[in-house]
């Protein structure tokens, strides 16, 4: 039994989530379209953390978070910390989380994404004196809304993967 078998699927999903998190919309799209963006990487990490906790190494996820920090131009370490915490939650409770319905899982996803939003807002408030505002809830809500869709889609696409 190879512990790395099927790991490429996790890797590929994360690789797809990164550009989605920074996709630039054409200049004439209305401003609210940008608000529909969920925390793609968090969705991917949570999905695989629950589905395949043995294929999601925390240190690797932390580095992905580092890359995301650079891509999004935020303070280094914020995404890494929150994504590592997501992995921790998934590792600790994956048996229970698998039993949850997608909607129940969505609530957990919302709380995790809210934590990420607060961490980002807090870091920005400390580093650049930009006041925290309620707008940081928006990505968390969008992440929750996208969760059932994304989870079903990824599940259907990866049903035939050999995990070894």
């Amino acid at each position: 039994m190879n512990p790395f078998r099927g790991g490429w699927v996790v890797f590929l999903t994360l690789l797809l989530a990164l550009p989605l998190s920074v996709t630039d919309f054409p200049f004439d799209t209305p401003g609210w379209v940008a608000l529909l963006r969920p925390e793609w990487v968090l969705l991917a990490v949570f999905y695989w953390g629950v589905e395949r906790p043995d294929r999601v190494p925390m240190i690797f996820v932390w580095f992905v978070g580092l890359v995301l920090d650079v891509l999004q131009g935020g303070p280094l370490g914020v995404n890494g910390l929150c994504l590592a915490a997501v992995v921790f939650v998934a590792w600790s409770y994956y048996e229970r989380l698998r039993m949850y319905s997608r909607l129940q899982q969505a609530v957990v996803v919302f709380l995790l994404a809210l934590g990420l939003g607060c961490a980002k807002g807090g870091a920005a408030a400390l580093a650049q004196d930009t006041p925290m505002s309620v707008t940081l809830v928006v990505p968390a809500v969008m992440t929750m809304v996208w969760w059932p869709l994304v989870a079903e889609l990824v599940q259907r696409c990866t049903r035939r993967v050999a995990w070894g």
């Binding site: 550009p19 920074v22 919309f25 054409p26 999004q72």
Partner: protein
């Protein structure tokens, strides 16, 4: 309940370790410049992500490669004619400009002030926009390998665009003049009143930092960069005054300015390195 794998028992320690590391990183970055190379290296590794992320915009906008592949012969010929005409017009203007610059420098010599040395210019293309609506930052396709340095000014065809705040090998991050953390020293063209135009987080508004009510600033006034502060070269258009509000209850006049540059439209920008850039670090 103990899990299937051994590392579950160590997960807490691992998380604690990574959390400490994250906080340390954030702290060091906030207080020193030690981590700039780390950011630069990670940025270089992550450059392809920007390229992929930018594909939808390219396709939609018909910008760059898509237009080259699909546009018809007639359209391209028209475009070439138009561009050729533009080149002729612009070179006529620039001939005059060279002569004027010479004359200006001679006059400055007579006045006893030093001549202005023009900076190097580098054309760059926007490859991505940082998605956070709170942050007005864009990524351009020229980096440290092309000679771009942190602090250099960026302009587009209409005016001042922003400044370089991070460089990776092949890309750099540009902070727009409308970002809440950005302010640019400017002067009113009509009467040389010095002001500071600060971003407020909207792509079409700058605000002038406290202007006394008695200051002679009117709607329609043009603002140019004043060159004070040493970061931006002198004489590039910053914007036009769109409203001046003098409330009896407020101690200062509220002046709003529309940026001259097409901040949310330009795809091509110029990075201007100034001979004296970096003095004000």
């Amino acid at each position: 309940m103990k899990g299937l794998f051994a590392r579950e028992s160590t997960a807490g320690y691992l998380l604690a370790g990574l959390a400490t590391l994250s906080v340390l990183l954030a702290f060091v970055e906030a207080n020193t410049r030690l981590l700039a190379p780390v950011r630069s290296v990670v940025g270089t590794v992550a450059t392809p992500v920007y390229m992929v992320a930018n594909v939808p915009t390219n396709v939609w906008d018909g910008g760059s490669w898509f237009v080259d592949v699909v546009s018809d012969r007639v359209g391209m010929r028209e475009q070439i004619t138009r561009l050729e005409k533009q080149v002729v017009e612009l070179s006529a203007v620039s001939q005059q400009f060279l002569a004027l610059r010479e004359e200006n420098n001679r006059l400055r010599e007579l006045l006893g002030s030093s001549a202005r040395v023009p900076g190097e210019k580098l054309i760059a293309e926007l490859v991505a926009v940082v998605p956070d609506p709170q942050k007005h930052r864009v990524v351009i396709d020229k980096g440290a390998a092309d000679g771009v340095a942190v602090g250099e000014a960026v302009i587009d065809t209409r005016g001042l665009f922003g400044q370089v705040v991070e460089t990776a090998r092949a890309t750099s991050v540009v902070l727009l003049i409308t970002d809440t953390t950005h302010a640019v020293p400017a002067e009113v063209v009509r009467n040389n009143i010095r002001v500071i135009a600060a971003g407020v987080g909207k792509s079409d508004v700058l605000e002038l930092d406290p202007v006394p009510k008695s200051a002679d600033i009117r709607e329609g006034d043009l603002l140019n960069s004043s060159g004070l502060g040493g970061r931006f070269p002198q004489g590039y258009p910053v914007g036009t005054v769109t409203s001046v509000e003098k409330l009896r209850t407020a101690p200062y006049a509220q002046v709003e300015v529309k940026p001259a540059a097409d901040l949310d439209r330009s795809r091509y920008v110029l990075v201007v390195s100034q001979p004296s850039a970096g003095q004000m670090q």
